[in-house]
């Protein structure tokens, strides 16, 4: 149970940190914020890798593999497209 309380504590504190950090993002960067945070939510990839790698049963391996594919699309696609957008904002500084 202690374990659970720690997890909840971490969750709540992270919500506050998120709130602090995100409210400083200017509206002009809201689209990159969405795609970038989207990529971060692909962190489920870590769990997917464990499911695909431990190979408990064929079923869990298949589930894990599918989850790896979906999460990596989310991660790679999200970070790359965010980079593409942010560079467009950046090049104004010439």
């Amino acid at each position: 149970m202690d374990d659970l309380v720690v997890a909840i504590t971490v969750f709540v504190l992270a919500l506050f940190v998120g709130n602090e950090v995100i409210s400083k993002v200017p509206p002009t960067l809201h689209t990159p914020l969405m795609s970038g945070s989207n990529a971060i939510s692909g962190i489920t990839l870590v769990g997917a890798i464990l499911s695909a790698g431990t190979q408990y049963t064929t079923l869990t391996s298949i589930l894990g593999f599918t989850a790896v594919v979906l999460a990596v699309i989310n991660v790679v696609g999200g970070f790359l497209v965010t980079d593409r957008m942010l560079r467009m904002f950046h090049r104004k500084d010439r």
């Binding site: 950090v21 200017p26 795609s35 790896v68 979906l70 991660v75 790679v76 696609g77």
Partner: protein
């Protein structure tokens, strides 16, 4: 130090990189680096996970990583900037689906291992399946609408609310069943299935100008699903990352709702009270008062203008007019005028949609002004050019308390000396109401497609 401790410390570093990376988004100049830091955090998290002792084979993992990376990279490189809302919706959905699968696999593994999972594990698993599935199917519908594969309008049918209520109750009921009977793993997939149906039902009645709210909300869900999966796996990094994304989505959702002066519940369940305006009332507003102008007339106005404000809306994205608009702005500036862009928070189909399009066309971000910043300056503006925007410049929001957009903060373009509206016809915007701005004394309308109209203006200006 055990391997486990090393892995967990590396996860902490990854979480810090995510936070620092998001912090970088507070300024366009630091943002590229911030995004790179966050992606390094992700890479670190993946690499240390591969060290986990429970992993017996790497073939599936590598295959999945390669296939997914290729697909993701192709998507990211090929999507046009106008297609960004769809892209974000799709990626959201994939993240949600991954959460459903991971939590399901974890449940099966625990049951096969013969241990009865703890109550909190079961609750987290079900939450992950529920939220993840709503995210996935809701995002697919949002993607379909934005890509115009399915009906883009709000789809409403009689008995919608009772049906949604029943489906929601069913999802909840089966969730409780799974928590009580964790051994029956099949029920978990039933929960995911019903939640998927719920995701579809909740997204189809939302259309057009309300899309920014839905996208933000689904973004938040994808984070919360990841956090729930973190509770399943007892992984603090997942919990932290999920909470960050959840918070981000919630903040954006709130900003979007405030920009429409509507509550979240109203956007999700209320829909606009869209009894289409009667023809008589439309005629009373427009008849005989709408002044159409030629490109030459407008060019002459712009010739002498010292300050010009351009107001883009979704129509700019539809006609891909961003590059033409940039050229027009540069031409006016070369003639000594000041040109700024007024961006309403809900212009377009997702938060920041207009900013990305104009950034693509090389419009400096300093020239993109928020509503609060630009509104006081309209009184000193010689010409405002409205391109493909309607409801966000409708003065009825200020004057008519019975209007469906009453109280919605708008861009006060009607206060500028002259308003030029570029529009294909007088058809109403998403709110379905006429716009008195189009019939105002100081308004000229140029009837044409956005991109063509702007190019015509450029031509006419050069010929003066």
């Amino acid at each position: 130090m055990t391997l486990n401790a090393v892995i967990n410390l590396a996860y902490l570093v990854a979480a810090i990189l995510f936070i620092v990376g998001l912090k970088g988004l507070s300024h366009p100049r630091k943002a590229v680096r911030g995004n790179i830091l966050a992606s390094i955090g992700m890479l670190l998290a993946v690499v240390v996970t591969l060290l986990d002792r429970n992993i017996v084979s790497y073939q599936l993992i590598l295959a999945g990583l390669v296939v997914g990376s290729l697909f993701g990279a192709v998507l990211a490189v090929r999507v046009p900037m106008t297609g960004m809302p769809q892209m974000v919706a799709l990626l959201n959905g994939f993240g949600g689906a991954a959460s459903v699968l991971v939590a399901g696999a974890a449940l099966i593994e625990t049951v096969i291992a013969g241990s009865t999972p703890a109550v909190d594990f079961r609750i987290a698993t079900v939450a992950s399946g529920l939220i993840g599935s709503v995210t996935f199917f809701g995002s697919l519908v949002a993607f379909g609408k934005l890509q115009e594969l399915v009906n883009t309008n709000a789809v409403v049918f009689p008995g919608q609310h009772p049906v949604n209520g029943v489906v929601a109750l069913a999802a909840l009921g089966f969730s409780i069943w799974v928590v009580m009977n964790p051994e029956s793993t099949g029920a978990y997939w039933i929960v995911a299935g019903i939640a998927g149906l719920l995701g579809i039902l909740l997204t189809i009645p939302i259309g057009g100008a309300d899309m920014p709210v839905v996208i933000s909300l689904l973004n938040s869900y994808s984070g919360l699903a990841a956090a729930a999966t973190g509770f399943v796996l007892r992984n603090n990094m997942l919990i932290i990352s999920g909470a960050l994304v959840g918070a981000s989505g919630i903040i954006l959702t709130e900003i979007m709702c405030r920009a429409m002066n509507r509550s979240l519940a109203n956007v999700l369940f209320g829909g606009l009270s869209s009894t289409p305006a009667s023809k008589a009332s439309v005629d009373a507003i427009y008849s005989g008062k709408v002044k159409a102008a030629s490109a030459e007339e407008i060019a002459m106005l712009l010739e002498t203008a010292r300050r010009v404000v351009i107001v883009p809306g979704y129509g700019l994205a539809v006609s891909q007019a961003q590059h033409a608009v940039r050229s027009l702005a540069q031409l006016l500036e070369s003639r000594g005028a000041t040109v700024e862009f007024a961006i309403h928070p809900v212009a377009g189909r997702m938060p920041g949609h207009m900013n990305v399009l104009l950034a693509e066309a090389d419009v400096p971000y300093e020239k993109l002004k928020d509503m609060d910043e630009i509104n006081p300056t309209f009184a000193q503006t010689d010409v405002s050019i409205v391109i493909g925007a309607n409801d966000v410049v409708n003065p009825l929001a200020r004057t008519d308390p019975k209007s469906p957009i009453a109280g919605m903060p708008i861009l006060d373009v009607d206060k500028s000396r002259t308003v030029v509206v570029i529009k294909r016809s007088l058809s109403p915007g998403f709110a379905g109401i006429p716009n008195p701005l189009f019939a105002a004394d100081n308004t000229l309308i140029y009837f044409a497609d956005g991109k063509k109209a702007v190019n015509d203006l450029i031509q006419a200006l050069k010929e003066l």
